[in-house]
Symmetry: C2
Subunit: 297 residues, 2 copies
């Protein structure tokens, strides 16, 4: 595995692969890799000829009061895991490599970014769109892999790709969950044991909305009520920020829910902000880890 | 010459050229081609193996009260000229091809876009950056050609390319001028004969700043005064919007001018907005047409 810090070298390497006719896959990450990231890496390894994993803790997607400083950093461990998996390139630029002096150009999006998490994190998606566009321009991959856990992020990025004509395909992969349903996130390691014990209620709330819908409840307010009721069983430790049901393309709340609509939650456990989502209909395609599933990390 | 309206077909054609190792040049235009555009096309034809000229009257870079509706359209003539010159592809997308339903992603830039023209045309450079990013993503050229007449536009685009890591090189080509110094612009055809007779004062004002600087005047206010005085000789027909001297990288007014700084003017002749600029130092590399120079258009 090549570990590359410079954009020009990364670009040249990928250009060489492209000129050989290899399909290149890109997995953008902020490091602190967990089984959720690794499922994206596995998808790229199996679908593409060459796999690039970027590790860049992007400061511009964190708000002033958010957790940039505490965000877990474990680059050596991450690189060891990626090498073992057979990744071809780790792209690990420094902040100064990605944001040069007098940086002043941003990719912004209206509408989709104003809803759900965007309503509470005003510049978050500006930072996400900008860094992802930069990564796409640097690593000219055929396909990029994102996790469905960050459902709004995937919707925003797909819209950005369409609107800006970026020549890349996005694959959105199933959420990976702990055995009790907690969606894997680098932020889970912030949780105290007591908080961790309460977090399964997010998953249970999503399941409650699904079960309600699938048993015939077509009233949004009732479905939202089911979710909130389940969240409240977090014993006061889980503080919901939003509970929503939205259409997957517009992120608007539908008048009458349909099976492709998404139940989505953001909640705090102490200072830790957790998000999760699940479609109301269809098969639950999420991946639930058993104890043995965690061995890579 | 292929004339292509669809982004996917244009992209595929260019990808084929790239895979053959051809250097592709792109000349983005809004049509209504004049000798200024054609000098960009000639540069691309001589420097690149394949030349793509885009003709797209981009609505998003016009303000609500600006001249989108009147802007000259002459696509058949433009295509005939480009074909005669040996251009390989004309990319002529419709508005709906470039801006799909629910379009909501924009490339925005701070600082550089707030100065000069940007101060008077608030969303102009958002429209320019967005459409140029889209064209760069669709036509994956090695090199793009822009005119120095739109000096701020070139500075903004170069900064966008740097900030977003877009893999393309920009070449900024000399301003082409009528014999009396008026910079060529598609908007010049709006001018009445009486207005046209007064427009040479823009060029004379820039020359006055140059001559002042080169004869030893190092006081910005005096240089700006020389420019304004010359503009006022437009007989009341020319109404200046701004007269400025700026550093080429920051677009800030320097405390003491240097030879790389740029004298820049925007002015109205009737309803027609004209812009022009010239560096204070160095050789005047602009191209002045004689009567015989216009034969292509």
């Amino acid at each position: 595995m090549e570990t590359i810090k410079k954009k020009t070298r990364a670009r040249d390497t990928v250009a060489r692969w492209n000129s050989c006719g290899f399909d290149v896959g890109l997995v953008p990450t902020m490091g602190a890799l967990h089984q959720g990231h690794l499922s994206l890496v596995e998808a790229s390894l199996s679908e593409c000829d060459k796999t690039v994993v970027s590790i860049f803790l992007n400061p511009t997607q964190f708000g002033r009061d958010e957790d940039l400083d505490q965000y877990p950093r474990q680059t050596e461990t991450d690189l060891r895991i990626l090498k073992q998996m057979g990744v071809d390139m780790a792209f690990t630029p420094a902040k100064e490599e990605m944001y040069q002096e007098n940086f002043c150009t941003w990719v912004v999006q209206e509408y989709l970014t104003e809803k759900l998490c965007g309503a509470f994190r005003p510049d978050h998606f500006r930072g996400v769109c900008t860094v992802v566009a930069k990564l796409f321009n640097t690593i000219q991959a055929k396909c990029a892999f994102f996790g469905r856990k960050d459902f709004q992020q995937a919707a925003v990025i797909k819209r950005m790709i369409r609107d800006l004509d970026i020549p890349i395909t996005v694959r959105v992969m199933p959420t990976v969950r702990e055995k009790d349903g907690l969606a894997l996130s680098s932020r889970n390691r912030y949780l105290s044991q007591k908080e961790r014990n309460s977090t399964a209620c997010l998953h249970k709330a999503l399941i409650a909305a699904r079960e309600g819908f699938q048993s015939g409840v077509k009233d949004i307010d009732i479905l939202l009520g089911l979710m909130r009721e389940r969240l409240n069983k977090g014993g006061g430790i889980i503080k919901p920020q939003y509970t929503e049901i939205v259409a997957p393309d517009t992120l608007n709340r539908p008048e009458t829910p349909s099976s492709s609509d998404i139940a989505a939650i953001a909640a705090f456990a102490g200072d830790t902000r957790l998000i999760d989502n699940m479609p109301l209909g269809g098969k639950n395609r999420d991946i639930y880890l058993n104890q043995a599933g965690n061995e890579r990390v």
